[in-house]
């Protein structure tokens, strides 16, 4: 199953252009922390400090639920600041692209499984860790 999914992901990878600003998901690389998200949206930051504005419905997605769980384990629950997830912008863009393309439930499950089996070792969150970014994509 995972192999099937990886194959599919590989095909998709060639086609997907990661949206820097699309209708549903916005990636905002400049630091505009005081900006409130548009109606119906929430804000996430990745470990490399990129800002994502995402539709509220994404909170019901199993992949995001798993990412939130990992964030809690890794950073504890956020108090004063915004929510930060323990992955980098590239992998987040990938997850967003997957959700936008409405991936099949079994692929979603496989992705959640690959997340839970630890594709984010905690040593890889350094923003300058470019090789790891590529590794993350490959591991998809």
């Amino acid at each position: 199953m995972v192999r099937k999914w990886q194959k599919l992901a590989n095909i998709k990878r060639e086609r997907i252009t990661f949206p820097r600003a699309s209708r549903d998901a916005n990636v905002d690389s400049c630091n505009t922390s005081s900006v409130v998200a548009d109606k119906g949206h929430f804000v996430l930051y990745t470990a490399d400090q990129k800002r994502f504005v995402l539709p509220l419905e994404y909170l019901n997605n199993e992949i995001f639920k798993e990412l939130f769980r990992l964030a809690e384990e890794e950073f504890g629950l956020p108090r004063n600041g915004p929510i930060t997830l323990p992955c980098d912008a590239v992998s987040m863009e990938y997850v967003v692209a997957m959700i936008q393309q409405n991936i099949a439930k079994d692929l979603e499950k496989a992705l959640v499984m690959s997340i839970t089996t630890g594709f984010y070792p905690s040593s890889s969150y350094l923003p300058s860790d470019v090789p790891n970014k590529q590794l993350l994509i490959c591991s998809f």
């Binding site: 922390s33 409130v36 998200a37 119906g40 909170l59 504890g76 629950l77 108090r79 600041g81």
Partner: protein
Amino acid sequence: MFSELMNFLRACFRAKSDRHVHTGSNARGRQDGLLWYKDSGQHFNGEFSYGCGQANNLLEDQSQIESGSLSLNETGPYGTFIGVYDGHGGPETSRYVNNHLFQHLKRFTSEQHSMSVEVIRKAYQATEEGFLSQVTKQWPLKPQIAAVGSCCLVGVICGGTLYIANLGDSRAVLGRVMKATGEVLSIQLSAEHNVAIESVRQELHSLHPEDPQIVVLKHNVWRVKGLIQISRSIGDVYLKKAEFNREPLYAKFRLREPFKKPILSADPAISVHQLQPHDQFVIFASDGLWEHLSNQEAVDIVQNHPRSGSVRRLIKVALQEAAKKREMRYSDLKKIDRGVRRHFHDDITVIVVFLDSNLVSRASSVKCPSISVRGGGINLPHNTLAPYTTQMEVGST
């Protein structure tokens, strides 16, 4: 009588019309989405306002207000009891405290024929021991119960005296009118046992001089043994009794070195205050409120608005603040379901107890009907087909 009937009819009507959004109402309070509230009620020493904003999938904050006899006897003493129990790791400990602490307090008051610091201390101790025996019983089948605990903030108003007892990081704040200016000043009545505070870290270091790693800074947050932010609690027996710090408890809770003396304490800090005529109200709240509002902000909000609905207003302002921190709209924050909501804010429980000086100065032997209200919340598992729920508990007499 008529108003009760109206409330009943209203509740019936609402049950039909709003099934899908968990809205309900009864004499004990109303549930509106993840917010439960009772805008106003009467206790032995005045009015109260009560509410709870849920964030966790299973509400971990439990709470109660009890008014009437503080002993098992009809002879009293009479007064008001307030409890806010902010659980962590699950709802089991805070629920246990909600069901047992007040009963223990009544028993010890009966034995000693009066309210005292000693009575409160014994009630805490009996509750801690009772929960420990629950853990011992459940350990073979449910070992994770050893890693569940609760903060425990209690206020007792009896005979013009206010007792405040605390374990953990909930907080009680008094609003007192300044005669000269007419302004209301906030006076914090409890100290938090949270290792974010340097003196609490120092206390732990002096209690555990052999362990330089007793508190650890992890992702900018201080934690006892890298695990927990508070130094005193009910429960958390995995950090109190070494025999529960072993398999099959999850590895993340197990310490490398066995410990000889308890790491966390269940000994409450208790203070006694003689209430004065210009003491207006006391706000009891879990840290879910205080992480978004300062003492003075909270006191000003209560003072500058009608008493009824005070708590709903406090929770709203706290949620607006939480939304701002998460860079989103308050109206959108409210749409987020319990569970995931915990990443946006904590469970928030608030009880504002207004002090009517005529009633406060009344003798504690004056009888009054007893009232018992407990905070509500949604505690059904997701995907359970129960269209309408108001998790209300035990009634009054």
